[in-house]
């Protein structure tokens, strides 16, 4: 069966079950590229964080599968740790996840073939988070249109399932680590986001928002626990956006 890959050009013309399987597997293989491995290391950190926050193994794995986007999960765990109520936690997670909408909006026209059913697109959209989105946007252009949804299904669901396993395994091991390793594990999440948020910012305002959030988070944690994330996210985000508009106006003048 593995030899089938060498014959795919003929099969593009008549997409059958074989071609579908090949493109699904190619998508699955993309999950084990360098960005996929960096993401897995971030989930190693998340497993340690979830354990420290008091989540059970089942809750941590469940959250990984259901929420998927790592920033949303880190905000959710952060809200749980600071004792936020359900509405406050949901609001903070929702605010941190609005950005998923434009990402999906941009990806859907790329994935859609002439006969791709709508329900499949809704199902696939669950796999959208930064890593799978960047990988897909980078590569779907080189994939026959009718096979793109299949390819993304392979990529997306492999990423989700693999990292559910990563979280489960690391959570189980994390109970028996020496303190120095355990401390290192808990430093993974902050370092992953400090660097990846900085790198993925599209405009200077993103850097301003990051620096403001870093300071405002601990500040509001002291003065307004339970609403610290919402307060820091809204004030920091709005201030950074105002900065963006001021700079642009000055540039235009």
């Amino acid at each position: 069966m593995p030899d089938d890959t060498s014959t795919f050009p003929e099969q593009i013309d008549s997409p059958g079950a074989d071609a579908r399987r090949i493109w699904f597997l190619r998508g699955a293989r993309t999950a084990f590229s360098v960005p996929g491995l960096i993401l897995a290391s971030a989930f190693v950190g998340f497993a340690g964080l979830a354990r420290e926050a008091g989540l059970t193994l089942a809750q941590a794995v469940f959250m990984t599968g259901m929420v998927w986007a790592l920033p949303a999960k880190v905000v959710l765990v952060g809200a749980i740790m600071s004792g936020a109520s359900l509405p406050a936690a949901a609001f903070a997670v929702a605010l941190s996840s609005i950005r998923l909408m434009p990402m999906v909006v941009a990806l859907v026209p790329e994935l859609k073939g002439s006969r791709t059913p709508k329900w499949l697109l809704y199902l696939l959209s669950h796999c959208v988070a930064v890593t799978s989105w960047v990988l897909a946007m980078e590569r779907v252009g080189r994939i026959p249109r009718e096979m793109r949804a299949t390819y993304y299904a392979g990529l997306g669901f492999t990423l989700v399932l693999t990292n559910m396993v990563v979280v489960g395994v690391v959570y189980t091991l994390a109970g028996n680590l020496p303190p120095i390793v355990s401390a290192g594990l808990l430093l993974l999440t902050p370092m992953y986001f400090l660097t990846s948020l900085w790198g993925s910012a599209r405009e200077r305002a993103g850097h301003v928002a990051m620096v403001l959030g870093l300071g405002l988070g601990p500040f509001f944690h002291t003065v307004w626990p339970g609403f610290d994330l919402l307060a820091a996210g809204l004030t920091g985000g709005v201030a950074a956006c105002i900065y963006h508009r001021l700079v642009r106006r000055r540039a235009a003048a």
Partner: protein, 118 residues
């Protein structure tokens, strides 16, 4: 209505479903619904991105300043030093996430070992 306020096995899962799954997949599903009809660079999206960035950065700030578990046993100066070293390494050495993480971990590890009585 916090994560721990109802003592039933299903409550944390319901909490995760509402505050986690519903709060994220609603946006993804709206994205499919609108598919291709919103431009990536429109003004409102700058605000969407900065609020999301500030929210995640706020959690990161809390994790560094008010950590839990084994990290809580380290000094604030060591944590800030490790994170700063990792970030500088990231900026100077080709902006690679892995380099930043490794540099921060090394400084943290050395710092913990150095602060232990021999």
């Amino acid at each position: 209505m916090t994560f721990t306020s109802i003592d039933a096995w299903w409550w944390p899962f319901l909490f995760i479903l509402v505050a986690g799954w519903l709060a994220t997949d609603s946006w993804r599903f709206l994205g499919v619904y609108f598919g291709g009809r919103i431009s990536e660079s429109s003004d409102i999206l700058v605000l969407v991105r900065t609020v999301a960035t500030a929210l995640v950065a706020a959690v990161i700030g809390n994790l560094i300043v008010f950590p839990t578990g084994a990290l809580a046993a380290t000094s604030l100066a060591l944590r800030v030093g490790a994170v700063a070293a990792g970030f500088v390494a990231y900026l100077l050495l080709g902006r690679r996430v892995l380099i930043g993480i490794v540099a921060a971990e090394i400084v943290l590890g050395v710092g913990i070992l150095a602060s232990q009585p021999l």
